[in-house]
Symmetry: C2
Subunit: 197 residues, 2 copies
DNA sequence: ACGATACGATACGGTACCGTACCGTAGCTA
DNA sequence: TAGCTACGGTACGGTACCGTATCGTATCGT
């Protein structure tokens, strides 16, 4: 009857040390493999080799390979918080430069194409990925909305269009044209997006 | 000594009818599979099943699976020509709407994520893909350059930035945010990109 | 009509992969 | 310290895949 946490059973158990170790090693190795070789390269046998954990044990913790990959993916994303520099241009500069750097260095971007590809033919993956993507576009949308209430942007501005142009420009360079994504480029995009608004 | 065509041996031979049929069937089935299931789904065995051509025969014409996939990919792209409506906005509207429709209907976009993913870990694929991508961005760049000589855009405009924002906005919606890519959206992007220039 | 050549069918070797069964052993917690 | 529980190793069944070998047959061009 304790009304502590009626949500899921978050951290209920003390948790056997061996379990903790195994899970940690497996998730770590899986994340590495995802980054290096994408979804297709993260085979269970390879995870066994790299983590040093027996296949039997892996299947004691995750009932299927996909379960494991899902869990491992969650460890890869880098959250993006919402700045408040006082001006729209300032906020966008910060966010876009941060995004540009994430695209060059972070682990998630190197897995993303696999996910997008899988999503092309699997609605569950697509939904999960779109939701994850929203985590990155939301800060941009937030500073844009704030600028609208401030009067920095016209009230009828379509935030989604602006977000697509900003984020899209970076993504386009990273994966499609394969040109470098520099800080300077990110800043140019912001300046052009804000011309006379 | 006939100076007809000194280039490669384009269409030199009469070509056995059986060969023509086999190649045609195999390339067709492969293209279908690429569109439906991506690179990974186009296995040789499946191509055999769908084309009705024996595996032996396939390997008589292509020495490896990758050779075959390369050939099949070439049949999938839809060329984009350069319009001349008289104004930059008109040209961009035409191009962007055309691109938006291609993204919804054409065959190539459904294979592209596979290619991008492969390119992430294979420089050859990456180069091929970037070159292919240039085929789509070049018309945009062309009308932009023309507008600069006309004085519709300042001389110091960076065409690459503009191209990335325009194309990127569409691609972003198609693959990352997974929101619809409508004609109206494409037009909004163009209008916003040209604000006060 | 005939000879060269392309074809189909089948079988195979080798690899990689997923997931399970079994069994003996190590390590944690109480 | 005693017993529960997680672990490692191996072996396995089943599938999918690539590419080759072999051999008899059909079809094309001349």
């Amino acid at each position: 009857m304790s009304t502590k946490i009626t949500l899921p059973e978050a951290a209920e158990k003390p948790l056997d040390e061996r379990v903790r170790r195994s899970r940690y090693a497996v998730l770590g190795a899986t994340a590495e493999l995802l980054v290096e070789r994408g979804l297709g390269g993260a085979s269970v046998d390879e995870i066994v080799r790299r983590s040093g954990v027996a296949k039997t044990t892996i299947y004691r913790h995750w009932s299927t390979r996909e379960d494991l990959l899902r869990d491992a993916c969650r460890t890869l994303s880098t959250p993006l918080d919402t700045p408040d520099s006082g001006s729209l241009e300032g906020d966008l500069m910060v966010l876009m430069v941060r995004l540009a750097r994430l695209l060059k260095s972070a682990r998630w971007p190197s897995v993303l194409p696999s996910i997008v590809d899988a999503g092309e033919r699997d609605a569950n993956v697509a939904a999960m990925q779109a939701q994850h993507q929203a985590g990155y576009s939301e800060p941009l949308a937030a500073v844009i909305r704030r600028a609208m209430t401030r009067g920095e942007l016209p009230k009828d501005t379509d935030a989604a269009v602006l977000v697509a142009m900003l984020t899209g420009a970076l993504f386009y360079r990273r994966w499609f044209s394969r040109e470098p994504v520099t800080d300077a480029f990110a800043k140019q995009v912001v300046r052009r997006a804000l011309r006379s608004n």
